[in-house]
Amino acid sequence: MHDFHPPISDAGLYWVVPVPAGALQWSDGGRSATIEMQDVAVIDQPKWPARKAQATPARMSFKMVFEATHQAVTYDDKTRLFRVTGFLATCRMEARVSVPSIGFTWRSDPIDKCPSAAFAVIGNEVNGKYYQEEAAR
């Protein structure tokens, strides 16, 4: 059993890493996105979410493709200050991981052989102060 993800950042961002220039492409007016990253530094944390679960340095490479369907969605929450406008989507991915210290490697089937995610959405979001600024206009 393995669980690969980046560490939580000092600010508390959960498993979020910057995307290097050129690794993310939007197309079709924002209705499609392709992200491809190589050798991202992650940790293998099989016992997550147990606190202080052992974490072993690992590497992850992946490609993910989002494509909008024709089903538009709007999520607007005035209490939690966010609005999403977009489309339900399909998302397929392929990935490979390695844990050098234990000699483990794994590679998924190619992206065209992997089932789409059960849920996906693509679009635009505003939250926090940007939500409030739009509401004040």
Binding site: A11, L13, L24, M64, Y75, R107, E125
Partner: protein, 108 residues
């Protein structure tokens, strides 16, 4: 009895103080109310916001629920994914260090 400067002294003993940006760090930070289980994580799904970053506006993509198969280094077929296996993209402007910042980020 502790004086008013007891905390800074304690901090100085345990960690050297490097550069401190007077306007705060320019990196993104999480959505404050996303802390019901002691973390700033949230699932992907209908009526849930895709962004993990607060004070954000821009393009997003979010997904969850993968069920795939792959092959390890010993040629064993191993399943991957659960209903909560989730990923996301946030690409746009966020507010930090009292100024707008831009960047692209992924939740993996």
């Amino acid at each position: 009895m502790q004086g008013f400067n007891a905390w800074p002294q304690a901090a100085a003993r345990t960690r050297p103080v490097g550069h401190i940006d007077p306007d705060g760090p320019s990196g993104p930070y999480p959505i404050p109310w996303l802390d019901t289980n002691g973390s700033h994580n949230q699932p992907a799904g209908p009526d849930l916001e895709p962004s993990h970053i607060y004070h954000f506006k821009g393009r997003v993509a979010r997904c969850s629920g993968f069920a795939g198969v792959g092959t390890d280094g010993e040629n064993e077929r191993l399943l991957f994914g659960t209903k909560t296996t989730d990923y996301g993209i946030m690409d746009g402007e966020y507010w930090a260090a009292r100024a707008p910042q831009t960047g692209a980020f992924t939740h993996i």
